[in-house]
Symmetry: C2
Subunit: 213 residues, 2 copies
């Protein structure tokens, strides 16, 4: 309980920083391998002409994801939790010190791959976005409800795999179950591999950033 | 720290129960949707002629998985963690009280879908088995090393999806990386959908149970 309380102070400090520099912030959360990093590299490629983007990467080990992000040309800070199952606001605050906030419009936080713990922690972000990939199955919002209830947006990724007929993922069922938990949830059905649906997601991000300016 | 210590007492109590009733126990761990429940129902169908099996299901919410297991005819106890990100030995001890231990040969524990937290907790099981599914990508053992280091077996599931050409999962790379963390790791490349590789996994389970008898 005390840990959560202390971290809330850091979350407030982070949101004051975002407010001061008029920078948007989205916290990306999913199971391991749902496609967060692939979505981010495609999103950066689509937006970086008209928006200055930075990324904070959270992983238990390695800087594999930060290196993938840096290849797009935007700054990325890697946090290794060394066994921790989620990013804390304090860790994010440390990473913000390594980003040129005054020259950024949007910061993505890619959280540790975990559908449970990251849903509890407020990092000072403007919105949480949950990624659900089609191979995981369409029952995840019922089984892991907290993150779907607390997210502003849900991206159903790997929609390209539905065509090969080996998955039993019902898109309408997955959206219906998530909306029962969260009626205002924005839903994007996408494929980070083929580019399907990324336009609408980028529009949503542009709106988020324009509200912050 | 104190929580871990207390839970170790429960883990000891569980392993004494397994020893007393000469029952094997395997703790199945994976990301959400990697295929634990599907693997278990297929494994039960293949083994339940010559082995008496029980299952303890761990989920944040719902009894969807326990109902799927009960349809095979074996007893299943559902634990809802209500937000907890892993099963504790104390919860498992409570569930063991609801299973006919004297009439079972093998108990599976299907843990909460999470590659991080369940790796730390000892539930009194004979072995942990980690399931990695091909859509998640082949870098997971490097990024989430603890569970791969602490498991006796790794099942690479959804091998059927490799044939549709939309995944970039290198089986040799995934096995090599995991074996660097854990040289003795038994590896099974399977498909719970087509049945590929399930024979070898069932052989391994038979060996585990015969050692307990
Ligand atoms: N077919 C298909 N594969 C995808 C798509 N998006 C990502 N992938 C693949 O899915 C695997 C995992 O993608 P990542 O982007 O690394 O996933 P992640 O959520 O960042 O993973 P962690 O950071 O480890 O939790 C990789 O093999 C990607 O190539 C998609 O839209 N379609
Ligand atoms: N193509 C294919 N799909 C599979 C295979 N195994 C499981 N699935 C599908 O993967 C999805 C998730 O499977 P589950 O067995 O529910 O996964 P789980 O690990 O038990 O999920 P949680 O308990 O929620 O963590 C379902 O849609 C299954 O049909 C497989 O070998 N091949
Ligand atoms: Mg990633
Ligand atoms: Mg399951
Ligand atoms: Zn956690
Ligand atoms: Zn945890």
């Amino acid at each position: 309980q005390r840990i959560l309380q202390e971290d809330l102070e850091w979350a407030k400090a982070n949101s004051l920083l975002f407010h001061k520099h008029r920078v948007g912030c989205v916290n990306m959360i999913s199971s391991p391998g749902a496609g967060k990093t692939t979505i981010l590299t495609e999103t950066i490629n689509a937006l970086s002409h008209d928006m200055r983007i930075g990324v904070i990467e959270g992983d238990v080990e390695t800087d594999l994801d930060a290196s993938r992000i840096r290849r797009t040309g935007v700054p990325a800070v890697q946090i290794n939790t060394k066994g921790g199952c989620h990013l804390s606001a304090a860790q994010v605050n440390g990473a913000l010190g390594q980003l040129p906030l005054e020259r950024l419009d949007l910061i993505f936080i890619e959280n540790v791959g975990n559908l449970v713990c990251p849903s509890i922690f407020d990092l000072g972000e403007h919105a949480k976005a949950v990624v659900l990939s089609t191979p995981e199955g369409d029952d995840k919002s019922a089984k892991y409800p907290a993150i779907f209830a607390r997210s502003a947006a849900m991206l159903i990724n790997k929609a390209d795999l539905l065509a090969c007929g080996a998955l039993d993922f019902d898109v309408e069922k997955a959206i219906g179950q998530a909306r029962r938990l969260n009626a205002n949830l924005e839903v994007f059905v996408i494929s980070a591999k083929t580019g399907q649906g990324l336009d609408q997601w980028c529009q949503w991000l542009r709106r988020l950033v324009s509200q912050v300016k």
